[in-house]
Symmetry: C2
Subunit: 170 residues, 2 copies
DNA sequence: TGGCAATGTCAACAACGCTGACATAAAATG
DNA sequence: CATTTTATGTCAGCGTTGTTGACATTGCCA
């Protein structure tokens, strides 16, 4: 906003213009790339009668074995009613197991069953394949830049969660 | 997929492991960053009773003044019924104008009205502000890498549309 | 003139966000 | 021990936005 004070488009027109165009490109790149990013898993999910919300739950349960419902709620940033609808079907379908906590019996710890792990593998295979191809063709420097910018784009709270996950990353 | 043939996790365990972890981080970065990316406009949209679909329509109509409905359909990748629902409200609310084509009278050319431009500006201001901050803190090299990876992640058809838009970019 | 293209619209449905209200069990606290 | 708070689940209802299928209108084109 400091480059283009509201109402001022005179100062440094050309530079300004380029900057705005660059930002617009970034915005559109996010839109089109996110579409590609989700398209492969989406195809698999539809066959099973699931949606993206199921994928996200499966992903983070896989990522953090035995996480609690509350923890998952924070990561996903949805309401418990919304998450519960998804979790219920996953548990009914035998993809996720919910175990009562030992230390705190109010908590439910979530785990992928074998069937759940199979689907998780299937979903992350196609998503990782696309990411791998993109990373390869872009090169290591670009990959670093990619992650740096994405991290900077997150809300601070989300960035913290992202980094915490990365640390726990086996 | 060539790094980790299905069922084989023995070969080059450590290197393999790092790669998988890197991909996972990339996937999670996309998830958390996209959340941040949409959060600021979302806040504004809710106040007006609009959603993300309205934002997307407004964005691309702004980007390509006088674009046709069909063109917009291709860019957005949704059904005409879905787009029409959004367009109808925008036209009713006086944010978008639909003019019958001169060359081909079947076509409708779409334009933002002044009110539409005001909202567009408001939405892109906050979204660009976040993008600008992210770009600044990441640095020019990271920005280039960011866009390279995102472009590589798009479906070829979408990449073509993205690049075509970028060319037309004033 | 007949066929195809561009658009709009009606209806129904599904996924997945949301709010609000309420219930239960268990932990925590005074 | 009584009370409050926490973690979870559930019911009901609503809104946005995607889908499919069907059908109508208008206009271009061969």
């Amino acid at each position: 906003m400091t480059d283009r004070p509201s109402g001022d488009t005179k100062r440094g027109e050309t530079l300004l213009y380029l900057t705005d165009e660059q930002l617009r490109k970034g915005i559109e790149a996010m839109f089109f790339a996110y579409k590609g990013f989700t398209s492969d898993p989406d195809r698999i999910l539809v066959e099973r009668g699931y949606g993206r919300a199921h994928h996200r739950a499966i992903h983070f349960i896989h990522r953090s074995h035995g996480t609690t419902v509350n923890n998952l709620l924070e990561i996903l940033g949805v309401t418990k009613q919304s998450l519960n609808r998804v979790l219920r079907t996953l548990i009914e379908d035998g993809l996720v197991e919910s175990r009562v906590g030992t230390r705190d019996k109010r908590e439910r710890h979530l785990y992928l069953t074998e069937a759940g792990q199979v689907l998780e593998r299937e979903l992350s295979d196609v998503q990782q394949a696309r990411m791998r191809d993109a990373f390869r063709s872009a090169g290591p420097g670009a990959v670093a830049g990619f992650r740096t910018v994405l991290e900077a784009m997150m809300d601070p709270e989300m960035r913290r969660r992202y980094q915490r996950l990365a640390e726990n990353g086996q």
